[in-house]
């Protein structure tokens, strides 16, 4: 048709379209426009202008108005409100009282505090920004190594996406048509395992070089108990979402709404101004429309991909390879690691999953397990050069800690992430145990 290839070879059209999409994205066309345009032209090639444009015109509305997606604005809103509910200081204080006594106590406390806050805020980089102010001055006061202090804050934020509520996990679930609830549950334990492995690395570091990270002691059990009420909203939000999905007393959207209402109430109680609330709402709306645009844009492309038969062809090729599936999996993960250095995590997942996911499931991997691994992979890219946005954030808040020092401080946490991914590859039950319990 317009490209003169004719639709006798949809596969070739698919390949050309894939190349065109990559080209457009490389020259900086925003992903939604690139995906939708290539998808439209691909469909025109295969179906003709009228039917193609007709189909494309219905996709934005029909794909956006689904109940499963309504959980996204709720999780996003919780995230923006969390900063106004201002539990960061309390979280850090509580964490230091509970775990300050271990070697590298303040750093371990920072990991748990950032993990808790990031979980609720869902924003890795913003969490790093906030804790650079809260935790780094304290650690430096106790004589902690600057590289460690910076690294801990930059790394802790990356735990955001695994522990529910997590927007990116919802997006994965929608794209691969898996249960949103099952995936949200699946992220919980790997998030905890990640945090524990970070803590383990710090403790080992502190035992080898105690002068880098002294323990802080002297807190009584009374102090510890008293520190809990201040941080209970964080636990409440995570508990509401996990228990609602696990026990089925509310849908993810309803649980998200309740979680948002809790954080909203606390923000109001703390005297958050009207303009700050309005600001959170405007930011939530902006991020929501950004994510929804990506979703429908990519789904237009996916509709075309379905017609082209490219995903099936890729799957057939992958399955026919005479290589152990685990080796293919590791190659896929390495490809994500490289791609993630140059691209936003959500965009990367949306663009690659329609082709990669069918192949992965055909190789016999569990779809929920793969989702958690991929999301973890995407987060690792937030701390690796050359982009490593979290590291830039820490350096931006604390210009006195050089960027090279932040990257040096983060190196060990990168090792920790590699260990975490290896653990999840070796023991997939860590991921699948909770969702399996729910299903049975």
């Amino acid at each position: 048709m317009i490209l003169g290839i004719g639709f006798e070879d949809p596969f070739l059209v698919g390949l050309i379209a894939l190349a065109a999409l990559m080209g457009l994205i490389l020259v900086g066309v925003r992903v939604v426009f690139a995906a939708a345009t290539v998808g439209l032209f691909g469909l025109i090639e295969l179906l003709g202008w009228g039917p193609a444009a007709g189909v494309v015109g219905t996709i934005p509305h029909s794909k956006s108005s689904t109940y499963a997606l309504s959980v996204l604005p709720m999780f996003i809103f919780i995230g923006f409100l969390a900063f106004h509910a201002g539990m960061t200081q309390q979280l850090f204080d509580a964490a230091r009282k509970w775990v300050g006594w271990v070697p590298g106590g303040l750093a371990v406390a920072t990991i748990f505090a950032t993990a808790g806050f990031a979980a609720v805020s869902g924003a890795s980089t913003a969490t790093a920004a906030v804790f650079s102010r809260v935790a780094i001055p304290e650690m430096l006061k106790y004589g902690y190594d600057r590289k460690m202090a910076a690294g801990v804050v930059a790394a802790g934020g990356t735990l955001a996406t695994l522990i529910p509520p997590s927007a990116i996990i919802v997006i994965y679930a929608i794209i691969v048509e898996e249960s949103v609830g099952a995936l949200l549950l699946a992220g919980f334990l790997p998030g905890i395992v990640s945090a524990l492995i970070y803590a383990g690395i710090i403790i080992v570091w502190a035992m080898i070089k105690p002068e880098h990270a002294p323990a802080v002691t002297g807190y009584t059990w009374g102090d510890r108990i008293k520190s809990l009420p201040g941080v209970s909203p964080i636990f409440a939000v995570v508990a509401i979402i996990i228990s609602a999905i696990y026990a089925g007393w509310a849908t993810p959207t309803e649980a998200g709404a309740l979680g948002a209402a809790v954080v909203f109430g606390i923000a109001l109680l703390r005297g958050t101004s009207f303009s700050a609330i309005r600001g959170s709402l405007m930011e939530s709306a902006k991020l929501t429309v950004m994510i929804f645009s990506l979703i429908w844009g990519v789904l237009i492309f996916v509709r075309f991909l379905g017609f082209s038969g490219l995903p099936e062809a890729f799957t057939t090729w992958i399955v026919s390879l005479d290589v152990p599936p685990m080796v293919i999996m590791i190659c896929i993960l390495l490809a994500y690691a490289v791609l993630g250095m140059f691209m936003d995590a959500i965009g990367m997942l949306l663009l690659t999953l329609p082709v990669v996911y069918p192949a992965v499931t055909a190789l016999g991997f569990d779809s929920i397990w793969f989702g958690i691994i991929v999301v973890k992979m995407a987060e690792v890219c937030l701390i690796t050069p050359p982009i490593g946005l979290n590291c830039f954030v820490v350096n931006g808040v604390r210009p006195d800690i050089a960027l090279t020092d932040v990257f040096r401080g983060i190196a060990l946490f990168f090792v920790a992430d590699v260990i975490t991914i290896a653990v999840l590859l070796a023991f997939p039950e860590i991921v699948t145990w909770l969702p399996d319990l729910m299903r049975n």
């Binding site: 900086g28 066309v29 439209l40 494309v56 934005p60 809103f77 924003a123 309803e254 950004m290 645009s293």
Partner: protein, 209 residues
């Protein structure tokens, strides 16, 4: 972020004139998010405590999704928040950069233009046929109408950006008007810090809308 150092020209004026509309549309989306929260909590309370779930709750949520999914699109565009890969555009300067931006904006205007037309058709069919949701029988057309409306505002913003980029392409020495500039990682980091901590940290005096 639009830069308004050259605040007198017609382009700057048009850009400013569109801002209230974009802000209002995004605000409607924001209010819809707030209402979705209230509705969700009400549904939990009514169902568990009084055993009377809201009739047509799921239909209502699905119909309201359009306002959250689309109305903020132009606002998001003005602030440059739609995702792109900045590997290349981040390194190019001057006329080459503006040429790339003109191209990207033309692609955007083309696809959004097509979508305005065909999503309007989608709405019109629904309106003339009197489509309703399956469960509670709410009319579907108001929700579908949101798409062409939001996309039209989006298209207008893109058109303004096209003029802005063309102007800079013709004369890269001019002040930046009605365009979004690419930020490097350090600047993005500053933005994140700014958003997270409520404006304490940026020292460039940049104002945010």
């Amino acid at each position: 972020m639009s830069d308004s150092t050259d605040s007198n020209g017609a382009l700057a004026g048009a850009s400013r004139a569109l801002e209230p509309l974009e802000n209002a549309a995004n605000m409607v989306a924001a209010v819809a998010i707030l209402l979705l929260m209230v509705l969700g909590v009400a549904q939990i309370i009514l169902r568990t405590a009084f055993n009377t779930p809201i009739t047509g709750y799921i239909d209502l949520v699905e119909l309201s999704m359009a306002s959250m999914a689309f109305l903020g699109a132009a606002y998001c565009q003005r602030l440059g928040a739609h995702i792109r890969m900045e590997l290349l555009v981040g390194r190019v300067r001057g006329r080459n950069l503006w040429a790339m931006e003109v191209f990207g904006t033309l692609v955007a205007m083309f696809i959004i233009g097509v979508l305005i037309w065909y999503s309007a058709g989608h709405f019109w069919r629904s309106y003339t046929l009197g489509d309703t949701t399956i469960d509670a029988e709410f009319p579907v057309w108001p929700s579908k109408l949101i798409v062409p409306i939001a996309f039209t505002i989006w298209w207008l913003r893109l058109a303004l950006q096209l003029f802005g980029y063309l102007r800079l392409f013709l004369d890269p020495s001019k002040a930046k008007v009605a365009v979004v500039t690419v930020k490097d990682v350090a600047e993005q980091a500053q933005d994140e810090i700014h958003e997270a901590t409520g404006g304490v940290s940026t020292d460039d005096g940049e104002s945010r809308t």
